[in-house]
């Protein structure tokens, strides 16, 4: 494995980088069947829920090890800056907004190229991310970063043992439909959490609502990263969306009943006739 990521020095505090994404709140989406279009007018941006769990765990580490340093990194348009500043009001040490018009349209491959370039110059013990994003749900970027940075990676993590989490290793649980697995992994590495972990971000303290944290925010553009233009944005993307559409579904003739005596009796009779009750 290629290891071009940098392990933090032993004399330095534990360093965690949380990679996060701000995503449209998909609960605000609805489809306008009459005009065949996605209605996103009520869309607002939120911190991706899986990523929020990653930041929440990092804050628990900081509570246990006050010298720990947490950096939150996001690649996004500048419009997410207020959201990032809110995160910085939660005792996050630094925030990094990677933004440049040249990055627009990047697919997961090109996004990885940008993030790899930034992270390649950083020192860290652990990169924490979410497993899935609400909007894309592809789970690709953390795994691709692991490949590029020469790190081990695990996703679908439902819990990390705080007591054994240090610069050298992490012990964590992963679940699938049938089993729960406990793994140990050497650090540096990438750990991707899921919402099932239940780690929750604290609320911003009342006195910090208007705290000026802008000095803790760094904006990084391609002027600093110097990613070759042909490797980023639409040009650097290796996949291309060629169409979006709503599939035709076979509409069924149906009977409509109400939640009243007649309606309940109708359903009950149907269930009885078919042997379900």
């Amino acid at each position: 494995m290629r290891r071009n990521s940098m392990k933090a020095d032993h004399t330095e505090p534990l360093r965690i980088i949380c990679l996060v994404k701000f995503v449209p709140d998909v609960d605000g989406f609805s489809y306008d069947y009459e005009h065949s279009r996605l209605n996103r007018s009520y869309q607002r941006m939120i911190l991706n829920p899986d990523d929020a769990c990653a930041v929440a765990f990092a804050l628990q580490v900081k509570q246990a090890h006050p010298s720990a340093h947490i950096e939150v990194v996001t690649m996004a348009p500048r419009t997410v800056e207020p959201h990032l500043l809110d995160l910085l009001r939660l005792q996050i040490d630094t925030g990094v907004l990677i933004t440049d018009p040249a990055f627009a349209g990047s697919d997961t491959y090109a996004t990885t190229t940008v993030l790899e370039t930034y992270l390649g110059g950083r020192s860290y013990d652990c990169i924490l991310t979410g497993t899935c994003t609400l909007d894309g749900a592809t789970s690709q970027v953390p795994a691709q970063l692991a490949q590029s940075l020469g790190l081990d990676h695990m996703q679908d993590i439902t819990g990390i043992d705080l007591n054994s989490f240090d610069r050298e290793q992490a012990v964590f649980t992963v679940e699938d439909d049938n089993d729960t697995y406990t793994y140990q992994m050497a650090l540096p590495g990438i750990l991707s959490l899921t919402r099932a972990s239940g780690y929750k971000l604290p609320y911003i303290a009342y006195e910090d609502f208007t705290k000026d944290v802008s000095a803790n925010l760094t904006v990084v553009t391609n002027q600093e990263l110097r990613c070759p233009p042909e490797q980023i944005g639409l040009t650097g993307s290796l996949t291309q969306v060629v169409e979006t559409f709503v599939p035709e579904h076979q509409r069924r003739e149906h009977r409509t009943v109400q939640v009243d005596e007649d309606g309940i009796e109708y359903i009950y009779t149907m269930l009885k006739e078919r042997g379900y009750v």
Binding site: E175, D179, Y181, V257, L271
Partner: protein, 323 residues
């Protein structure tokens, strides 16, 4: 053999039959007899796939047991250099979702995740998947020079043909240099809850039942079925992902499906294509789910369950009284 399109399929170690089902996708990608399919499989698990794939390359089980994802990537990269696959297909399982992006990165090729269908156009193969949290479908093509790569939704394809090809088996003989620092400390089986894909009756709750999911479970128990949930309930932490219905979860084929307080996002509706009878209970008869339902119950889902449970209980009490 060399003139044919070379295809590599990575074995689904969770459900072996899914490895075969991917062949149905391959049939949709190429003309008959124009392709040659290789399966990358574990040594111990090739019996059930012989006769389906032209070639099986086996790797030691320990590679998976130690979660040596980088090691599998190394094997695939080597095979790609040898055989120049035109496409690489990976089941979108827990391991597959970690593996596919790493292989794509290593091969410098684009990857489309969770593909549920493909279609051929004059110039390219278009891979279909849901987008915007399952609210819309997207057709995506690969534009790089590398092989077409996709992770495949595990339930989207079904291959029914009998074994019909001569399979040659080739153990991977090179040593695998990549290692993983992962150590499995413990594996515990979860309590057996059953797979919703095997249930004849599914009682499924959506956003409208966010605060009342135990009622959904109670109705499921009463009707001898299984409880299921929409993505929204899972996202809110109300239900486990293992019972999520839809393209973001599991595609189901039950005989009876109650959609309780489910609006009907496209990815959810797509997951119900194999269902026989759908009963939708919703405060709005114009909710998308209602257009594919056989019976629409217009009203509050919680009230509906309570009244239906009372009706069933009433009959049971009467029967007990008579006996």
């Amino acid at each position: 053999m060399c003139d044919k399109n070379q295809v590599l399929v990575i074995q689904d170690t969770d459900r072996l039959e899914n490895s075969r089902n991917i062949l149905s996708l391959v049939q949709g990608m190429y003309e008959a007899d124009s392709y040659h399919v290789t399966l990358l499989a574990l040594e111990s698990e090739i019996d059930s796939v012989c006769g389906y794939f032209h070639r099986i390359v086996t790797i030691p089980d320990t590679v998976y047991e130690t979660m040596n994802i980088a090691g599998i990537c190394e094997v695939v990269e080597y095979l790609q250099r040898q055989h120049h696959y035109s496409s690489i297909l990976i089941p979108a399982t827990r391991v597959g979702r970690m593996l596919a992006p790493r292989i794509a990165r290593r091969l410098h090729t684009g990857l489309v995740a969770d593909v549920t269908d493909v279609k051929k156009t004059e110039h390219a193969l278009v891979m279909l998947r849901t987008a915007y949290a399952g609210n819309i479908m997207a057709g995506i093509r690969s534009v790089g020079e590398g092989p077409v790569m996709m992770s495949v939704h595990p339930d989207s394809f079904s291959y029914e043909l009998e074994p019909q090809v001569h399979t040659t088996i080739h153990p991977y003989e090179k040593s695998i240099a990549s290692h993983s620092s992962l150590t499995l400390l413990q594996k515990r089986a979860k309590p057996v809850t059953g797979d919703i894909r095997n249930s004849d009756v599914l009682i499924s709750g959506g956003g409208g039942m966010k605060r009342h999911f135990p009622l959904v479970q109670q109705l499921a128990e009463t009707l001898g079925g299984a409880a299921a949930a929409s993505r929204k309930l899972v996202d809110h932490g109300v239900a486990p992902r293992s019972i999520q219905v839809g393209q973001s979860g599991k595609l189901v084929r039950s005989r009876l499906y109650f959609a309780l307080g489910i609006n009907g996002a496209i990815q959810h509706v797509e997951g119900l294509k194999g269902v026989e009878t759908i009963i939708a209970v919703n405060t709005s008869a114009k909710a998308p789910i209602c257009s594919i339902a056989d019976i629409v119950v217009e009203g509050d889902a919680k009230e509906f369950i309570e009244k239906l449970l009372a009706r069933i209980q009433n009959t049971q009490d009467t029967q007990i009284g008579e006996s």
